[in-house]
Each structure stands twice: as structure tokens, then as C-alpha cells.
């Protein structure tokens, strides 16, 4: 009896739903990864709030950001997102309860939730959409509750609701209100009310764009998320599933109306009735099965790994990064870029550079040849690694232009300004970061640094970067980063990373002459042996040089193993010189991580793979 009692209570199912979702988000999705991808920040600051009040839908975004910042902690983020979906589930369930007494209410309520879950399962799906969805439902429930008594008040309040929800959310809310009036309201004036709703649905956004806010008409009517989310790295795009999730509730309402009015009584006579607990049990089993299918179907492990790679790069966990990179199947430029950094930091750059397919050549080594704010953070990172602090700072400022409160960028600007001795500027960014509860500890340390010379002098990061900085000025050249590397080396002969990156650049660009010119530097930097890929390049140079030109490598001994490998490589090539496809297949098995293989088959000069600027569909902006 007790068990039956529990089963009869839908709250048990909600609890079960919540717990399942919580563990899913905690263990599989990982809310902290979601946080890392978005880098949300919430500032306890009037100017920050004011920015959100300047357009309809901003206020709710401000509220959502407050919660989003807690995703920094996986357990807390998972708790919040699970609670959010639970509330949507309950709200949808309540709505169905209000409009018709149908048995499979649980399943029906789960329909929009499952569609939203499919969307939310992608890391680039903005949290704000689910939040707005929830608020639309809550306002609808409120409407249903008080519509009959206070319709005039509600119509006036509708303006406030528009301001809170913004274009798209409001459109959704009004559509549901109109449907409710037409299908379920018993009020004699329901057609008038539906008409009113229709009119204000057009009127309020128009007034907002025309007189109140500096927004476009498109934005006034169908604003979904902030502009920047349509661009990289988020690249939000409303998909079919997105529209279905919004369409699901109106469809449900119509279905319930048709069912209640025309089918229910007929079915009652024909079918055998299940008891309430049986109904609930069957529904919950279906929900579990659908839920598992939905999450399994929509989850993209590769997406998560790519974000994890970026996270590990930010944390400087290079070995873990390299290990994870092997689990990524498809080529990705940012992964390539971070793998190269990791190879340098683990001392393997010139030995294992071609373990990862360098499909874009030097565009995998440097990322800012085509400048865009989406690559500003990684580009700033590589220059920071190199001790090219001004370049790192320029890129950070470019990033800040678009992602003005991104904590990663703000922290970078604190560091570059401290390194450059510009403490007043650093303090400005520290003051800003201090307004976020998440970063106070970090801020406190560097704030102390500003007023404590000995603390700065004992800070390894700051000191090491100060030592690497160029000792004289030159103009930064991101189109030809090799020039910068040469300048960095000239300006500071101890910059080992600049040297290795320069060598890697020459390898990838197949600039053999330039490579030979810098060979002596290996001795200067204390290399005990020539790195593998340099050996491979030297053998290639020797093989490709005309016989009358004598290239002297006597100074450098090339390992017999590499010589033997080169012979074998050439042998396979010669044996299959009429069948390059076969040669490639055979060589790939043994030599795909060698410089020779890169030169012949991967080098973008051979493959003609080129970077393209991505075109964004701006129809919704």
C-alpha cells in the first residue's frame, strides 16, 4: 500500500527526474566545462546591470548570468541546471493540468522538456533560452490563474512581461495566451481577449523599437539571445529542434483540446481504464526510455573533449592535454594549436610535432593571421607563452572588445599590465574583477602584488615573462609571425620558445635555407642532440640538393636510426612511384608522424587547404 501511495504521487517522479538529470549533468555533461566554454561573469555593479536594462529581455539575461556563474563548480552548476529543467517540467505539467484532465500528463509535459534537453546537451546552447522558456511558462500560468478577474491589468502588465522576456520569449508567451483564450477559456469575452493579446503582441515591440529602446524591429519582435552568441566560438543557430521545442506546447494545447472535446468520451467507452498508479508508472518508464535515448542521441563527446583541451591548456596541464588529443577523431585547428603548445611545454615540439596532423601548416602554430575576436584568447595565450607581452596584450584587448567581461581576458590584461609595470591599468581590471564573487581570491593576490614590490619580484610567472620581453622595439607582424620570432630572438637571445617555434615554422613552411641558417642555435640553447624532425629535414635537404652543392652537416650528427628510416621511406616511395595512392597508404602506416610524410602529403602547399573566413547568417540579428 505504501509503495502504491508513493507511485501515485507525481512528486516522486519529479524527484526521480531531478536526481537522474543531476547525475547526468554532474557525471557526463560536466557543467564546469559548459562554464569554461562560455566564461560567464556576473558583476555586482550598477553599470553592469544598466547594460542589461537597455533592451527588452536584458533583465532576465542578467538574472540568468547570476546563476550561470555558479557553473564554475560542476556540482553546483549541475544542481542549478537540473532544477531549471525540473521547474520547466513541473510548469508544463501544471499547464496541462489546468487545460485538461488527461491521463498521460507526465509524458505530455515531458515532450517540450525532452526537446529542450536535446538542445541543452550541446555546449554551445545558451542557458538563457531555457530560462526564458521557463519564465514564459510561469507568466502563462499566472495569466491563466488571474485572466478572468484582472484582464485589463494583465494587458497592461503585458508590457512589463515583454520587457522581461524580450522578443522571442514574449511571442511565445502571447501565442500560448491566445491559444488558451481560444481553446480553453470559458469567458464570454474570450475572443475579445484573444484579439487584445494579438494587438499588443504587435504593438508593444513596435513601441519599444520606435520610442523606448535603441533596438531594431527584428530585435524587438524576435530577439532570442545576445548578438555575440551567433558568432564564434559559440555559433548559436536556431535549429529545427529549437523551433520544435517552442512549437511543442501550442501543439500539445491543440491536441489536448481536440482530445478532450472529441475523443476522450469515445475512448472512455471503448478502452479498458488503467488505474492512476498504473498510468503514472507506465509514463515514467516511457519517460526514462525516451530520456536516455534523447540524451544519448544528442550528446557529443567530441565537443566536450575539444572544450576540455582548451580548459587543460588554460590550466597548463600539458601532458593531460596531449593524452586527450589522441581521443579526438576529427581535425580541429584549435586542438592542433593547443597540441603544438603542449608539445613545446613538454619538450617535444621538434621531436613529435607531426604526431598531430599539421593540416594547416603554420596556421596551426599561430592562429591570428586572420584576426577575429573568437581567436583573440588563444592568440593572446601563445604570445604570452612566448613572452611577446605587448602582442599578447593587443590580442587580449581585441578579445575584450567583443567579450568585454570575459574573466580570462580580464585576467590576462591584469597580468600583461603588471608585467609591463602598468600598475594603474592593472588595478582597473582588478577592480572590475573584484566585483565578481568568483575571482576575488585571484584578485586579492595580484592586488597585493601592486603594492608589494617584493611580492612581484618573487612571483615566478611575472619575473619569467619580464625576462623574456623584447629588449628593443619592433612592429608586431601577425601576418608573418616568423619575423616576430626572429625579432624576439634578436631582442632576447634566451627565448627558447621563440627559437623552437621559429624552427617549427620553417619546418611547416618548408623553408630549408632559413632552417639551416639557425642550426647553430641548437648548440647555443644546449641541445644534446638534434631533435628528430630537424634530423629528418636535414636528410631531406641533403637528398634534394644538387650533387655539386656540398652541404656540410658534419657539425651535427644525425642518428643512424633516422638515416635508416629515411632510406626505407625513399625505398617505399621509389617502389610505388607510379602509384602514389598506394605509396601514401604504405607510408602512412609507418611514417605519418615524420617530416617527410608531412612534406609530401600533408603540407597545405600540396593539399591546397586554406583558411576561410566564416560567413554568419545574420538574418536573425
Amino acid at each position: 500500500m505504501k509503495l502504491k501511495g508513493i507511485i501515485r504521487n507525481p512528486n516522486c517522479y519529479f524527484l526521480f527526474f531531478f536526481l537522474s538529470l543531476y547525475f547526468y549533468f554532474l557525471l557526463v555533461f560536466d557543467s564546469a566545462i559548459y562554464y569554461h566554454y562560455y566564461q560567464p561573469i556576473f558583476l555586482f555593479d550598477r553599470t553592469f546591470l544598466k547594460e542589461f536594462l537597455l533592451y527588452p529581455g536584458g533583465l532576465i539575461e542578467w538574472i540568468a548570468l547570476f546563476f550561470f556563474q555558479f557553473f564554475y563548480l560542476n556540482w553546483l552548476g549541475s544542481l542549478i541546471i537540473s532544477a531549471l529543467f525540473l521547474t520547466i517540467f513541473i510548469a508544463a505539467y501544471k499547464l496541462i493540468g489546468k487545460i485538461g484532465n488527461v491521463k498521460p500528463a507526465l509524458i505530455l509535459a515531458f515532450l517540450p522538456v525532452s526537446l529542450l534537453l536535446v538542445l541543452q546537451n550541446h555546449y554551445n546552447f545558451p542557458l538563457i533560452i531555457a530560462v526564458k522558456y521557463l519564465f514564459s511558462l510561469i507568466f502563462l500560468l499566472l495569466y491563466i490563474k488571474i485572466a478572468n478577474k484582472y484582464m485589463i491589468l494583465l494587458i497592461h502588465l503585458s508590457g512589463v512581461i515583454y520587457y522581461i522576456l524580450g522578443g522571442w520569449g514574449y511571442l511565445f508567451y502571447i501565442a500560448l495566451c491566445i491559444l488558451y483564450e481560444l481553446l480553453f477559456s470559458e469567458d464570454s469575452k474570450k475572443f475579445i481577449y484573444a484579439g487584445f493579446n494579438m494587438v499588443i503582441c504587435f504593438l508593444y515591440p513596435y513601441i519599444a523599437a520606435r520610442y523606448l529602446f535603441a533596438i531594431t524591429l527584428t530585435e524587438a519582435y524576435i530577439y532570442i539571445v545576445p548578438y555575440e552568441l551567433y558568432y564564434e566560438p559559440i555559433l548559436f543557430k536556431p535549429t529545427l529542434c529549437f523551433y520544435l521545442s517552442y512549437l511543442s506546447l501550442p501543439v500539445l494545447m491543440v491536441t489536448i483540446f481536440v482530445y478532450s472535446k472529441y475523443i476522450k468520451t469515445e475512448l472512455k467507452h471503448r478502452t479498458k481504464q488503467l488505474s492512476r498508479w498504473q498510468h503514472l508508472l507506465i509514463q515514467s518508464i516511457i519517460i526514462i526510455l525516451v530520456g536516455i535515448f534523447v540524451l544519448e542521441f544528442s550528446y557529443k563527446q567530441e565537443e566536450k573533449r575539444k572544450i576540455q583541451i582548451d580548459y587543460l591548456a588554460e590550466q597548463g596541464q600539458w601532458k593531460e592535454l596531449l593524452a586527450l588529443s589522441f581521443e579526438i577523431d576529427k581535425y580541429d585547428r584549435q586542438v592542433n594549436f593547443n597540441v603544438n603548445r603542449a608539445l613545446y611545454h613538454t619538450g617535444q615540439l621538434l621531436d613529435d610535432l607531426f604526431n598531430y596532423p599539421q593540416l594547416l601548416g603554420t596556421d596551426g602554430l599561430f592562429i591570428d593571421r586572420i584576426l577575429g575576436s573568437q581567436i583573440a584568447i588563444p592568440a593572446s595565450d601563445i604570445y604570452f607563452d612566448l613572452g611577446h607581452i605587448n602582442a599578447s596584450q593587443v590580442l587580449a584587448y581585441e578579445g575584450q572588445t567583443k567579450f568585454k567581461y570575459n574573466p580570462r581576458i580580464l585576467k590576462r590584461l591584469v597580468l600583461t599590465n603588471i608585467i609591463n609595470g602598468k600598475y594603474i591599468v592593472a588595478k582597473k581590471f582588478l577592480d572590475l574583477l573584484k566585483k565578481s564573487i568568483l575571482h576575488r581570491k585571484w584578485v586579492k593576490y595580484y592586488e597585493n602584488c601592486l603594492f608589494n614590490k617584493s611580492l612581484i619580484e618573487s612571483d615566478n610567472l611575472i619575473q619569467s615573462k619580464r625576462e623574456l620581453r623584447p629588449k628593443f622595439d619592433f612592429l608586431i607582424n601577425c601576418k608573418n609571425p616568423n619575423y616576430d620570432l626572429i625579432w624576439l630572438l634578436k631582442a632576447n637571445g634566451n627565448n627558447k620558445m621563440a627559437f623552437e617555434y621559429l624552427m617549427a615554422y620553417y619546418l611547416l613552411e618548408c623553408k630549408m635555407g632559413d632552417l639551416i641558417q639557425h642550426l647553430r642555435k641548437f648548440r647555443d640553447f644546449g641541445y644534446r642532440k638534434i631533435p628528430r624532425h630537424i634530423e629528418e629535414a636535414l636528410l631531406l635537404i641533403e637528398a634534394m640538393s644538387p650533387p655539386d652543392i656540398d652541404i656540410n652537416f658534419n657539425e651535427y650528427s644525425i642518428s643512424p636510426h633516422t638515416v635508416e628510416e629515411f632510406r626505407r621511406f625513399n625505398k617505399i616511395l621509389l617502389q610505388n612511384f607510379k602509384n602514389d595512392v598506394k605509396a601514401k597508404a604504405l607510408l602512412e602506416k609507418e611514417f605519418k608522424n615524420t617530416y617527410w610524410y608531412y612534406v609530401r602529403y600533408i603540407n597545405p602547399k600540396q593539399t591546397n587547404i586554406m583558411l576561410k573566413e566564416r560567413k554568419i547568417d545574420e538574418s536573425l540579428l
Binding site: A214, Y227, N390, W487
Partner: protein, 513 residues
């Protein structure tokens, strides 16, 4: 009996009200009677000490950077007890009530204004700092300042807009923002004689063109022609409101690798053209479209002379940081398109520095300009300072308003008694607006920061106040109207076919049909 009780209660309540009122008035009213006088000025931020205050400016709210348990602030004019502002506060943030502030300023034009600051220490003793002495000017400043708000990034942009601030209070409103035009770039807003009804600004990228606003009408023009190296860039309205001189430029920029410098912005070529709004025609003269680089035009208030800067021809051999500009002028009749002879006003050879942004005061007496060690794009040069040239004596001098940081773009008020300029002195990163008074004989007074309602506002505000332009009233054209025109295709400007210029000047292209 009932009446007796009623009157007793009324008297009792009356007494309570009187006692409470008296207590309240005592605490915030007559001020502190027992205190120790300190022979030092209080540290306040922004620095509003020894400045000339416009009689129509918003309250100069400030922070007291002195530790205290309580603060008492008494703001009053000389020999005036009737108009006092008394503030008792436990925080060091001083927010001055706007109505009382306006009252005190309007009643005391031309008089001194004192700010007395008392501080209660942890032992409960009051101390009084030396009075902050300022003076209220007789002449008002233009009521609004228009500026562009941009992030500190150098190449990319995202949120950007032209805003106007009513400096008589704290209201800031949008003139136009790129939220309405797919986040395109917009720049170089300019007004004719501080008139908010005659304005222009450029739009780049999506919806590119130059927006002209005149008497409520909005037009979008493509000022780029196949005969000019670029569309119009740096503008200067002719006083007649029908012509605009533009520079046309081939702009380059580069970033420095060493920590003391950031960015270099310069030109490879530049010329000057004049656009006639009524005929939609662009013209120029061989005298301002030479192999040299003519740039940053500005008209004399009578419209007879065009002032501009002129730098040597660009060559790849020349180092960018050695390029310096002279100040020139040429007479020009815009109606007949008759150009006089070039006149050198001030050379870089004389000053040892490069001249930039010449702006003639509306009374025609002075030229306010920048000088820096090289180039003309001074907003990134810490060496940039403000100078004044007396047009009668041809003497120039460095203004006392300068700091060791960037001082750059500036604009005169309509009555020539005030100017606004941008400076990065406050946080070394973002340009902020400073106002300064100029008396009738050319003395320039200590500048003060544009006040904000919250005096902490600038501490964490990361946007530049770019191209400040004083205007006498708000721009009335709505962003809605501007957006509608912005979304249309621009009208193509025509190039004056009678002009014949050497196409090899490297500047204006002459690909005549």
C-alpha cells in the same frame, strides 16, 4: 473633556515634531561647531580644486580619499549664507543634490565657491580641512557633449555608439548605436558650429556611407568616388552648413613590441576634398591634393580660410616615427571654388614636434591643437599635449592643462570660453573628458573631469570617450529615423569634373573618363 484630550495630544505631538525637526536640523544644518583646523587640503577624487566651474554644470560629485568615521561637507559661495549645501554622510562618497547645486551656481556667477570638508576620526573628534576654492564662471558651457563610446581594442569593434551627455545633469542618451546596424563601425561625428541640428558621421562595413543630418532631414551619401583614394574621413563643417572639408586617407597601423608603446596609426597618403551637400559634389584643389600629406581640415569661423596639417610625402624609406606635420592654411571661397595661396602657420621644424587636430575658436582668436613627437593620430601617444596659437600674434604656447599622459581630441564651446578635451591621465587606459575655461585674454584654467552621478563610475568603466564635441542642445533626430536612412543604399557623390590634379601625387586618384 474630549476636546481637552485632543488639544493635549495635539500639543504633545507638535512638541515631538519640533524636537525631531530641531535634532535633524542640528545634525545636518548648522554644521560642526567644535573642530580642529588642519592646514592641508583634503584629497578628493576627481580633483575639483582651484577650477573654474561652468554655471550650468551638473553637480561635481566626488570621493573623499581621507579615512574618517563620518564626513560633513559644506558647499557655499563667498559671503553667502543663504545658499549653502550641507551634507552629513558616513561614506566618503559625496553626492550633491542637483537642485541646490544649480541654485547655488546660478545665484553666484563670477564668485568663488568653497567646499569645506570636515572629518570625524575614530575618537569622535571633528577636523576641518582647508577649504577647497573654486570659482563659478559667468559664461555657461554648451549644454551637451557628444562622443563615441568604444572599447580599448585597436582593430576590431563590437559594441559602438555615438552618445550625447547633458552636462547640466547626468542624462546620457543614444544618438546612434551600431546595435541598429549589425554592429558596423561608425566614427568621426561632427557638428556645424556646435549646432545639434547639423551633424554628420560615417558608417563603415555593413550599411557604409556618411550620414548627414540637417534640420531634421537625414541623408546617406557615399563620399568615396573612383577619383578619390577613400571616402571622406576627417571632417570639418564650413560655417555655412552646406560644405564639408574632408580628408581622404590611406591609413596604416602597427603595434609596438616594447612595453612603453602600444600602437602607431598613420597615413601613407592623404589629401583634402570639399563636399557640397546641396549639389552632392566633391571637389578639391591641386594646392591641397599634393604629394605631401594634407590632413585634418578645419575652417576659420568666417569660412574664408581652411586650416589643415601637412606632412612630407610618404616613402618606405622614411621611418614612421620621424614623420611630422606642419600647420597650414589656405584661403578658399567655397561658392566659387576659388583657392588662394598656401600660408604656413607653424612648422614642425620650428616646434620640433608634429602638429595635429587644429581647432579654431569660434571667436577666431586662437587655434587649439595637439603636438606630439610624430604623426597625427595622437590618442595613442603619451607625448601628445595641447597647445594654443594666438592668431593675432602667431605665438604659441603649451597649455597648463597637460599631464604626462595622452591629451588629444578637443572641441570649443560656442562662446569660445570653454573647451573639452580627451585625456588618459586618469587610468592611463581609457580617454576621459576634461573641461577647461579660457578667459578673454587666452589664459587657460585648470581642467576638471566630466562629473558623473556616481563618482566611482570611472574606476571600472572600460570604454573610451572618443571625439568629444560640445553642442548647444541635444540632437533631436531619433535613432529610429537615423536607422531607417542607414538601412538604405547611399546616394553616390559626384566628383567635380573640372578639377585636374596630377594623378601621380600618390594621393587623389585621377582616373578621369
Amino acid at each position: 473633556m474630549k476636546a481637552y484630550y485632543k488639544s493635549t495630544i495635539s500639543i504633545f505631538l507638535g512638541v515631538i515634531v519640533v524636537v525631531i525637526s530641531f535634532t535633524f536640523l542640528k545634525s545636518a544644518g548648522p554644521g560642526i561647531e567644535v573642530y580642529t583646523e588642519l592646514d592641508q587640503l583634503p584629497k578628493i577624487d576627481p580633483d575639483y580644486n582651484e577650477i573654474m566651474i561652468p554655471p550650468n554644470i551638473a553637480p561635481l560629485n566626488f570621493i573623499i580619499n581621507e579615512k574618517g568615521a563620518e564626513y560633513y561637507i559644506d558647499i557655499h559661495a563667498k559671503n553667502s549664507n543663504s545658499n549653502q549645501i550641507k551634507i552629513l554622510t558616513k561614506t566618503n562618497k559625496v553626492i550633491i543634490p542637483i537642485r541646490k547645486w544649480k541654485n547655488i551656481l546660478s545665484l553666484n556667477r563670477g564668485k568663488e565657491l568653497y567646499i569645506d570638508i570636515y572629518l570625524k576620526n575614530e575618537f569622535g573628534d571633528w577636523r576641518k580641512f582647508r577649504s577647497i576654492e573654486n570659482k563659478i564662471a559667468k559664461e555657461r558651457i554648451d549644454s551637451h557633449v557628444a562622443y563615441r563610446l568604444i572599447n580599448p581594442g585597436y582593430v576590431l569593434w563590437w559594441e559602438m555608439g555615438i552618445y550625447q551627455r547633458n552636462i547640466e545633469n547626468f542624462d546620457e542618451s543614444v544618438i546612434f548605436t551600431n546595435r541598429l546596424t549589425k554592429k558596423n563601425c561608425m566614427n568621426c561625428h561632427s557638428f556645424c558650429k556646435n549646432n545639434p541640428e547639423i551633424m554628420m558621421f560615417h558608417m563603415r562595413g555593413a550599411y557604409s556611407g556618411t550620414m548627414f543630418i540637417k534640420d531634421g532631414n537625414v541623408n546617406k551619401i557615399n563620399t568615396g568616388t573612383k577619383y578619390t583614394m577613400s571616402a571622406g574621413v576627417y571632417p570639418a563643417w564650413h560655417p555655412d552648413g552646406n560644405h564639408i572639408a574632408f580628408s581622404v586617407n590611406k591609413i596604416i597601423q602597427g603595434f609596438h613590441a616594447q612595453q612603453n608603446k602600444t600602437i602607431y596609426v598613420g597615413d601613407k597618403a592623404s589629401d583634402i576634398v570639399i563636399y557640397n551637400i546641396q549639389t552632392n559634389r566633391i571637389t578639391t584643389s591641386p594646392k591641397v591634393s599634393t604629394r605631401r600629406m594634407e590632413n585634418l581640415p578645419n575652417w576659420s569661423p568666417d569660412g574664408k580660410y581652411l586650416y589643415f596639417i601637412s606632412g612630407p610625402e610618404w616613402t618606405d624609406k622614411k621611418k614612421y616615427d620621424e614623420l611630422q606635420y606642419d600647420l597650414m592654411r589656405i584661403s578658399c571661397d567655397v561658392e566659387t571654388n576659388h583657392w588662394g595661396e598656401l600660408d604656413t602657420m607653424l612648422t614642425a621644424a620650428e616646434t620640433g614636434e608634429s602638429i595635429s587636430f587644429p581647432k579654431i575658436s569660434p571667436d577666431g582668436k586662437y587655434i587649439l591643437f595637439c603636438m606630439s613627437d610624430h604623426g597625427y593620430f595622437t590618442i595613442h601617444f603619451t607625448s601628445s599635449d595641447l597647445y594654443m596659437l594666438d592668431l593675432r600674434t602667431k605665438k604659441y604656447w603649451k597649455l597648463p592643462v597637460n599631464s604626462e599622459h595622452v591629451e588629444s581630441y578637443h572641441s570649443w564651446s560656442n562662446n569660445s570660453r570653454w573647451f573639452v578635451f580627451s585625456s588618459k591621465r586618469k587610468d592611463r587606459l581609457c580617454s576621459r573628458l576634461y573641461f577647461s575655461y579660457v578667459d578673454t585674454v587666452g589664459n587657460v584654467y585648470k581642467p576638471f573631469l566630466m562629473p558623473q552621478k556616481d563618482p566611482h563610475f570611472y574606476d571600472t568603466y572600460i570604454k573610451n570617450y572618443n571625439i568629444p564635441e560640445l553642442i548647444d542642445g541635444p540632437v533631436a533626430v531619433s535613432h529610429w529615423k537615423l536607422a531607417r536612412t542607414a538601412h538604405k543604399m547611399p546616394i553616390q557623390a559626384k566628383f567635380d569634373s573640372t578639377v585636374n590634379i596630377d594623378a601621380l601625387s600618390g594621393a587623389t586618384k585621377m582616373l578621369k573618363n
